[in-house]
Symmetry: C2
Subunit: 247 residues, 2 copies
């Protein structure tokens, strides 16, 4: 993990890093008060590690809870190179969208491909984060990400037992059910009741499938991008409950 930039504002230090091909960002409390818990943030499709919603949440979790927050760009996102297969899927997606044809099957295939590549990248990132003195090997780790961030997060949480709580949502598809059923960590799952990209019944079926004894569905009216601001309060409370607060 090579740190390439370092800025500080409002009590939050933001560092950019590379780890092999992976580009990432780490937000931490400006005042080091010992090892912190970590929130891994997965961005949505077409976005990147410094999308405004990611940065805003990172600052909120650092200043409110004292957590460190890490985000990495998914393969082909945030300036990372796309493979020829990625380019082909995106071209297919754009043609289908322009023609008014169903795009969900294409997104499912693209998400699955991204998740298979992102999981080892996230696992290597966790290895590197645990080497940092401000985090350490005993840090409690949660994952937060919706849409593409959930496709990646379900696969990651199924593969890596270091993740002990997760916030997912804005997604549902039968291809995710098997991995979802294998999860046992506490979950918060966000659903937008009028999501224009996600079938409500598929999202409810995904929530139903999670194997976790503690899982909470939070559903709100509105479209994919209209998760209400107050939802951040319950997510914060969920993370504090499972990671502890150090601020």
């Amino acid at each position: 993990m090579h740190f390439t930039a370092n800025t500080s504002s409002n009590g939050v230090v933001e560092r950019h890093f590379t780890l092999g091909e992976v580009t990432g960002a780490l937000w931490s409390p400006a005042v080091d008060s010992g090892p912190t818990s970590v929130v891994l943030m997965g961005h949505g499709g077409g976005l990147h590690k410094q999308a405004p919603a990611i940065v805003a949440r990172a600052h909120h979790f650092v200043t409110t809870c004292g957590f460190a927050v890490a985000a990495i760009d998914a393969p082909g996102h945030g300036g990372r190179a796309r493979t020829p297969a990625d380019e082909q899927l995106i071209a297919t997606l754009q043609r289908a969208r322009a023609a008014g044809e169903p795009i969900a099957p294409i997104i499912v295939e693209y998400n699955a491909s991204l998740a298979s590549r992102a999981v080892p990248e996230w696992r290597a990132s966790i290895d590197a984060l645990q080497q940092l003195p401000s985090i350490g090997a005993d840090a409690r780790i949660a994952y937060c990400g919706t849409a593409l961030g959930t496709a990646i997060g379900i696969a990651l949480t199924a593969a890596d037992s270091r993740i002990t709580a997760a916030v997912f949502g804005l997604l549902g598809h039968e291809s995710l059910i098997e991995a979802a059923a294998s999860l046992t960590v506490p979950l918060e799952f966000l659903l937008q009741w009028d999501d224009e990209f996600v079938d409500r019944h598929s999202a409810l079926a995904l929530f139903d499938a999670f194997g976790s004894a503690e899982k909470t569905l939070h559903a709100n009216p509105g479209g994919h991008a209209q998760v209400p601001p107050f939802q951040l309060n319950t997510t914060t409370e969920f993370l504090i409950r499972h990671l502890g607060a150090t601020a």
Copy 2:
């Protein structure tokens, strides 16, 4: 409103009252710091105004938020007289339960009967609460109640515009849809994913029907009586958001 008893513990004054045939309880901050917002608490079927869950929540809302909390016994509950029709419905319910026959239709009929009688009793209680100097005519008012408390609460909130936010849940039936669709106040709706008394799809249909622009569904695994303790935190946050906190 005649106060008949007055006790105080842990910063909370509990007063019992009668209002005509209605028996009620009012919990308030022991230290009077001006007019407070009010939470009306509706109990579940077969319970009463001082059921342990009601008393625990009342103390929590008073000490955490500075609200006043009022609860009244539903007709035929908490020592209030049952009508011959009530007795007949309860006997029918007990026979159906003993015979392993469906009890939902009987409960729906009983709930509807209780709601039609409870609404004017709640409205008279609100009138009387607004006369108290510690509450006043401008107090913001929310309603919280699940199961029977939701059957009554939907009818009450549809009938009385003084209620400006509500927490409902653990119920769903087509007979409630029309009144639910007429509601416009912010709502939190609790659903137990494995509720042995409430059909999941009916509960989701009831959530879907509410006319409110702000409505949040919180669903958790487990049976009717297994709402997780952490749910109280989001309900508290919801009430603070809509009533303000005075503590």
